[in-house]
Amino acid sequence: MTGPHWAALLEEAADRTAVGPPPMQALRVGAARRQRHRCAAKVACLSAAVVLVIGGPLLLANSEVAPQDPRPAAVSTGPDGADTAPAGTRLVGLGRIAIAVPQQWGTNQTKCGVARQDTVIINVGGIDACYASPSAGVDSVELGQGKPRFDFAADDTLEIDGEQAQRQRTTCTKATRDRVQVCAGTVYFPAQATWFRAESTTSRDDVDRTLSGIRIELDRIGVPTYQPLTLNAQGRSGDIYAARLAEAGFDVDIRTRKIPAGTPGYVLDATPTPGTMLPPGSTVAITVIAEPDDPADQVSVGIGTDSKTPTEQFVSDPQIRAGDTLLRLNVGERIWAYAHGRRAYTLAGHLRGDALAIDIWQDGPNYPHSWIATASGRTTITLNIEANGQAVELGKVTVLVN
């Protein structure tokens, strides 16, 4: 059977259902009731009213409030007439669930996981193991996919633009002399596994006001996050993330970048960044670590010294490979090379010149590629690894000893 045949069979089957005229009055009353319910769920929505016209008389949805302009907050439209963020705000979202935040808010403006200024927090991987106390007067909202934070518990269920959601009520810590009060609340969409956690060191109302900006987007989809996928999946994260982007409705452009000793396939970044709202079919470019071309790509090297001059204390992998770095040391100062990645254990340094001698501390962490400046002069250190019985040069550094 073909498509038209199935269509004809379904039409016949459906036509057996007698359908009366649409219940217009009941429909409008029901919509008005939903508007009241939606206002009750949004603390910031204190004076909105939907004016529905039924024939002659006006019907106010919120009869406790004097009639006001029923139109929603000004919504700027794009060139194709599509609905965009309210004026003065920008949209950030995941899937079709977005939140309108003030235009001036930053993104990931945090330290030690704590917001330092008004900010959206999204796609954060590992957090530095440090401590930062919250600053007064800062609002933030964090978006994520998967399960919400470990301390989430649903206090209420609600509906936002037709989507079922769970709300953890806004609660505040106690303010002390040394610590500002922190208020937080969460909205979680179980069907979409997407959550929004707003925090404020200003007030509980600010948390509620932030969360009231959540909406369902009709024409755009938020770019999904790739953290903590990269932490968990490492080299498979590129394939998994590309599949998630395609599943979300985006075209995917995969680019590669060489990172010595990097795990091939690991996601480095995505453009546009996670949280950006785009029309379906838009292209998202992701950069993953490239497969190594040769053994030299599989290891990352560096050089350190105990010089008291900061600019002489470290030479990076790219600098070593470029080969044009000149370090200045004093007699008696030490210099060492280190590596990580595949074949790092075969690292060796070959000297040309008389200014350096091998450090005889055999228990040292960098023996035998650790040296001491013993005499004035110039020495070049060439760093190699061994692969398949052959020496593979990685780069060189020239040391000038005073």
């Binding site: 059977m1 459906a14 979409q192 009709l218 024409d219 409705g249």
Partner: protein, 166 residues
């Protein structure tokens, strides 16, 4: 203020098909009317955005599917809990299998996901992309679900009899 005429016109045109879609998806007739009404109530609340949306029908059906899914999760309709879709009451069950009964029975053999995709594509006449939008899935997933559903329907014994006549 909601544009009265346009919304009324939209409802008048779409109401019968929305109700019948819901029946094809497994609702009883009263359930289907409630579902269609709930859908249009939500559409009225965001009518200004729907008017500007590129794909109004896809989003209206998305609302309908979401409400249907949540009502099934909550058993909102007050029916006895059941794992299977409600039977479509065709009246006289001893009357023999005619085309429409055959179709309804065949639909009942599909999973919820498969049934919805068949109804959206062949009854609501949404395109593959519109169906994907309505269901919140990728177009490729629409294609694969539809393909599996049509394979099951093609092997349905009640529908096999109809093949000779079509």
């Amino acid at each position: 203020m909601v544009d009265d005429d346009e919304f009324n016109q939209y409802v008048a045109l779409r109401w019968p098909r929305l109700v019948r879609s819901a029946v094809l998806m497994g609702c009883t007739e009263p359930e289907a009317e409630d579902l269609a009404q709930a859908t249009l109530e939500r559409c009225l609340l965001k009518w200004s955005r729907l008017q500007q949306a590129r794909d109004r029908d896809a989003y209206v059906h998305r609302i309908l599917i979401n409400i249907l899914a949540s009502s099934r999760r909550r058993r909102w309709w007050g029916e006895q809990p059941t794992r299977h879709l409600p039977e479509h009451h065709s009246g006289d069950e001893t009357a023999g299998v005619d085309d429409t009964d055959a179709m309804m029975r065949a639909l009942q053999r599909l999973s919820d996901d498969q049934r919805v995709v068949v109804v959206l594509r062949y009854y609501s006449h949404l395109s593959e992309h519109q169906t994907a939008t309505a269901l919140g899935i990728a177009p490729g997933t629409v294609k694969s679900r539809l393909s599996r559903a049509l394979r099951i329907l093609a092997q349905d014994p009640n529908l096999i009899e109809l093949r000779g006549s079509r």
